[in-house]
């Protein structure tokens, strides 16, 4: 019944499940103060899974497994690696969170969510896709509202749950329409059906619109972005970081597969739609970020803007475009996790997320300030950090496809971005504490932060300088889409 390729294709998921079971069995026997070690277990386990997957689980030729439910190819595989990396780092950042770090459930939920995301990236069937999206989302609803005694967190959890369910039901309605008209739920069969002209263009578009709304919510593109700032602000910071990176990237993995594989013949139309969304998303995200005083809200709007940049690669509808989206997301995940990691490390000591409280950080902890600088410059698209290369590739794909106007919109937006990112860094480097006694108020890092942030900062620089291996992976991910 099951062949070895079936097994290999879901090797990471099997291992994640095993890790979750181990965590579940071990954690109750730990003493209260030892429970944060669940973070080490999760992070270590995930890194081990990444290595095992790289050694034994690399896909060859794309194959459909489990009766076409799952596609075993590089697109899914590379995204899986990214999600697991993000989750590993997030669990390290969670460890010293005052209220969430000592509770094993948090790590378990994180693992459950990653399991769902992995399947999102790999699924080739609407039913599988929907199940995967729900598996990924429901643990995140809980994680967002994890701090029960904190009103903002509860609000964030509820808001995310309500809007998330709404978006997913709308998307499910779209899926059901597809099945009703096409008689199949397999993405790879849909493209032929839609190409044959048996299904009307009106239907195709209504389906595209409905699905776009569901996925648009996940990746937070305008006009489905409104939940993001409130949820990011209220959630525990590492969870917000995870939401803004892995969850967003999972949405993009679905967009890439769904639009490019199932609707290639309608590409001239939906690329225009996505181009418009991309331009609006970038502009709205960046303009609203300008006036933020809370750093988590600032990053929320900036992450909305980044969804817009990444979308340029999909609009390009080419192999380079898809590869550049994947590369962009890889760079963005590492960068934004670094940014949220710095914020987490800072707020753990100071208890504040206000930008003005970052004054004097470069004297309170020069290393943390440098890491924040690396993260923000990378977000702004400056070399030698990953964000620069990602932006250039995405823009190059846009220019190649003839979307020069969209690239120019992107460039104008990145100038706005430079302004507010540097403005934030001004507090860190230029301003001082009211009494100028920074030496007496150091911001110390605990071990999990030191390790996680060091890994991330090296990652940001590696992606930005030695970009050939990452690009060739991204390229193999895009290779079989066209």
């Amino acid at each position: 019944m099951f062949t070895s390729i079936d097994f290999v294709s879901i090797l990471p998921e099997i291992l994640i499940l095993a890790l979750a079971v181990i965590l579940l069995c071990v954690e109750p026997f730990w003493k209260e103060e030892e429970r944060r070690n669940a973070g080490w277990l999760t992070a270590g386990g995930l890194f081990l899974i990444i290595i095992i997957s790289l050694l034994f689980g690399q896909p060859g030729e794309p194959t459909a497994v489990f009766g076409g439910m799952i596609r075993f190819d590089w697109l899914g595989f590379f995204f899986k690696l990214l999600f697991m990396f993000a989750a590993a780092v997030t669990s390290m950042l969670l460890m010293d969170h005052e209220k969430a770090g000592g509770r094993g459930e948090a790590y378990l939920l994180l693992l459950a969510s990653v399991l769902g995301m992995n399947l999102m990236a790999a699924s080739a069937d609407l039913i599988m896709l929907y199940l995967a999206i729900e598996t990924a989302s429901i643990p995140l609803y809980i994680l967002a509202g994890f701090l029960l005694t904190d009103d903002r967190s509860t609000e964030a959890g509820f808001k995310y749950l309500l809007f998330g369910t709404l978006a997913s039901t709308v998307m499910l309605y779209g899926f059901s329409l597809i099945f009703g008209f096409a008689g199949t739920t397999n993405l790879y069969l849909l493209s032929d059906l839609f190409a044959s002209g048996k299904i009307s263009a009106v239907l195709a578009f209504s389906v595209i619109a409905l699905v776009l709304m569901g996925i648009g919510f996940k990746v937070a593109v305008v006009p489905f972005q409104f939940w993001a700032p409130d949820v990011y602000q209220g959630s525990p910071t590492p969870v917000a970081g995870f939401l803004s990176t892995a969850s967003k990237a999972a949405g993009f993995a679905v967009i890439v597969r769904f639009f490019i594989v199932a609707f290639p013949d309608y590409a001239p139309s939906w690329t225009v739609l996505l181009a418009a969304l991309s331009a609006i998303t970038m502009t709205v995200g960046n303009l609203l970020a300008l006036s933020q005083t809370n750093i988590k809200r600032l990053l929320a709007y900036s992450s909305i803007a980044h969804a817009g940049y990444a979308m340029i690669g999909i609009v390009a509808f080419s192999q380079l475009g898809a590869a550049s989206v994947v590369f962009y997301l890889a760079a963005y995940i590492v960068t934004n996790l670094l940014a949220f990691g710095v914020i987490m490390a800072f707020s753990r000591v100071t208890g504040s997320d206000d930008i003005k409280d970052y004054a004097g950080l470069s004297r309170r902890n020069p290393w943390l300030a440098l890491m924040m600088l690396a993260a923000f410059l990378s977000l702004a698209g400056m070399p030698p950090f990953g964000g620069f290369v990602g932006k250039v590739f995405v823009f190059a794909a846009g220019v190649q496809a003839g979307y020069v106007w969209l690239v120019i919109v992107g460039i104008l937006n990145s100038i706005i971005g430079v302004y507010y990112y540097l403005n934030t860094m001004k507090y860190v480097y230029l301003y001082r504490l009211p009494d100028e006694d920074e030496e007496d108020h150091p911001v110390l890092l605990t071990r999990p932060y030191a390790i996680a942030l060091a890994v991330l900062v090296i990652g940001v620089i590696l992606v930005g300088t030695v970009f050939a291996p990452w690009f060739s992976w991204s390229n193999s991910a895009a290779l079989n889409l066209f």
Binding site: L320, P383, P384, V399, F471, S472
Partner: protein
């Protein structure tokens, strides 16, 4: 495999920046020691490279290194220098070395002196060296992608350097203005570069960022006409080209001394060089068709910059606008697209870099002691700082284009070149020489030789340090040597110009 001298020159400062960041923050002397040692080694390497090129009578691109970085998109780390860029590499080495010397950071409360960088020198030198690495990278890159990569690296540390260590009154405003101007310029040029990349790939079937390949891409005249201006002006913003020069004097004034030296001495050359390298050399037909516009802008910059410099009362603003005027001459020389003009532009880039670094260094020394840069409030500096006075006078003579100094060697061919294209413009532009002479001489008389005001007298200011003297002597030496023996630079620049003229195809 030869010794990869260009990679070493480029990456040494960046490595040193990382090493400095590893040193504990309170060990300032060690940080300064590492900085000075690195700068000295880099200067030796770039000087050695320059001498080899000069004495070997080399032509074309030399010391070429190529590492395939991302073959899928035709990106490679390709370094090489020609007669145009070799002097600029040397210039960067010189400015970096002297910049470290004058930022050393002597603190002497008795003499009312806290010169150089006292606050967080570790971060200061690290950012400065990152910037220097970026600048070297642009001058030696033969790959368009890498050129942008290094160009951006050279831009953003500027924001931090100015906003953290700059002049309290205007630093936040000036730093942000400068960064946004330069970033806008560079990304506009980036779009042009991406378009060139795809168009060249379509024309030749080879998708590559290698500029030596792009030179042969055969862009159509209409394509060149559309994309020349965005690319050229995008880069020329950093060259302080009128009407996009506005960021530059503000940036000069707000920046700490070493950064002003870097900024006016090297960064503005970066803009002019990249505009020449990417704009003119890759899109020669566009340059030919638009030269009237560029010449007009440059001509206005030359005279207007000199006039605004003349009416300034702040020494740094004066030098800042004089930089706009002198960089206008560089762009004017480039826009003539003939032999004389281009040779002049090449030499002027070096000459002005050294000269303006000297001006800013001395202005910084005066400001550190008197705490003012207002020309009316200053006086009698010659009594206490004779060495600096001589340095300033030499710089002034270069600025006026006196024979016997490098300024003459640079400006004379530029005016010759302009005469060949539009004699009227040459006449108009030469007015700037008179204005320059006026403001330099007035400034020298007032600041250095008029009686010392009581306000300054009572502070008992002291002379400059030995390190400062070494810096001034180094800079003056360069200007005099080129003035007396033009053969140390002009033939070399000419070899670079030959290549550009070949691309222009005899137009």
């Amino acid at each position: 495999m030869n010794f990869p001298i260009l990679s070493v020159i480029t990456f040494l400062p960046m490595v040193a920046a990382v090493i400095m960041l590893m040193i504990p923050a309170d060990r300032k002397t060690e940080v300064r020691g590492v900085a000075l040692a690195t700068a000295a080694i880099d200067l030796l390497f770039s000087g050695w490279m320059y001498l080899q090129y000069l004495l070997g009578h080399m032509t074309g691109y030399q010391f070429v290194e190529e590492y395939r970085w991302l073959p899928a998109l035709g990106i490679s780390l390709k370094f090489g220098v020609d007669g145009m860029s070799a002097p600029l590499v040397l210039l960067t080495g010189i400015v970096m070395f002297t910049g470290v010397l004058i930022s050393w950071g002597e603190y002497n409360p008795e003499k009312h002196l806290s010169a150089g960088i006292q606050d967080r020198p570790r971060e200061f030198f690290a950012f400065l060296f990152l910037l220097a690495g970026g600048v070297f990278g642009v001058f030696v890159s033969l790959d368009l992608f890498m050129l942008f990569f290094f160009y951006e690296i050279a831009v953003f540390p500027m924001y931090l350097l100015i906003s953290i260590w700059g002049w309290v009154k205007t630093r936040e405003y000036a730093a942000m203005k400068l960064t946004l101007y330069l970033f806008i310029g560079s990304v506009v040029a980036l779009v042009g570069a991406l378009v060139m990349y795809w168009q060249a790939g379509q024309n030749t079937g080879i998708y590559t960022f290698d500029m030596l390949q792009l030179e042969k891409a055969g862009f159509s005249a209409s394509f060149q006409n559309i994309w020349f201006l965005p690319v050229f002006i995008g880069f020329a913003v950093l060259g302080g080209m009128w009407p996009f020069h506005n960021w530059s004097p503000d940036g000069h004034v707000a920046a700490p001394t070493a950064v002003s030296m870097f900024h006016a001495g090297v960064l503005m050359k970066l803009g002019a060089f990249a505009a020449l390298r990417v704009g003119v050399m890759l899109l020669p037909q566009g340059a030919y068709d638009w030269k009237w516009l560029i010449m007009t802008f440059a001509g206005i910059a030359v005279v207007y910059g000199a006039y605004i410099a003349f009416v300034q009362t702040d020494m740094k603003y004066m030098i800042g606008f004089s930089s706009v005027s002198h960089m206008g001459l560089v762009i004017l020389g480039v826009s003539t697209l003939n032999h004389d003009g281009l040779v002049g532009a090449g030499v002027q880039m070096f000459s002005h870099g050294v000269m303006t670094a000297l001006f800013f260094a001395i202005t910084g020394m005066i400001y550190d002691r008197t705490h003012t840069r207002q020309i009316p409030e200053l006086g009698g500096i010659a009594k206490v700082m004779p060495f600096a006075t001589i340095g300033f006078i030499i710089g002034g003579l270069v600025s006026m284009g006196m024979p016997g100094f490098s300024g003459f060697i640079a400006e004379f061919p530029i005016f010759m070149g302009v005469w060949g294209r539009a004699w009227l413009l040459a006449v108009v532009a030469s007015i700037s020489i008179i204005i320059t002479a006026a403001y330099i001489m007035i400034n020298i008389r007032k600041v250095f030789f008029s009686p010392m005001p009581e306000e300054i007298e009572k502070h008992h200011i002291g002379d400059i340090t030995v390190l400062d003297k070494v810096a001034i002597a180094t800079l003056c030496f360069c200007m005099i040597v080129i003035g007396i023996f033009p053969a140390v630079m002009v033939p070399m620049v000419e070899t670079g110009v030959q290549h550009i003229l070949a691309l222009l195809g005899g137009q």
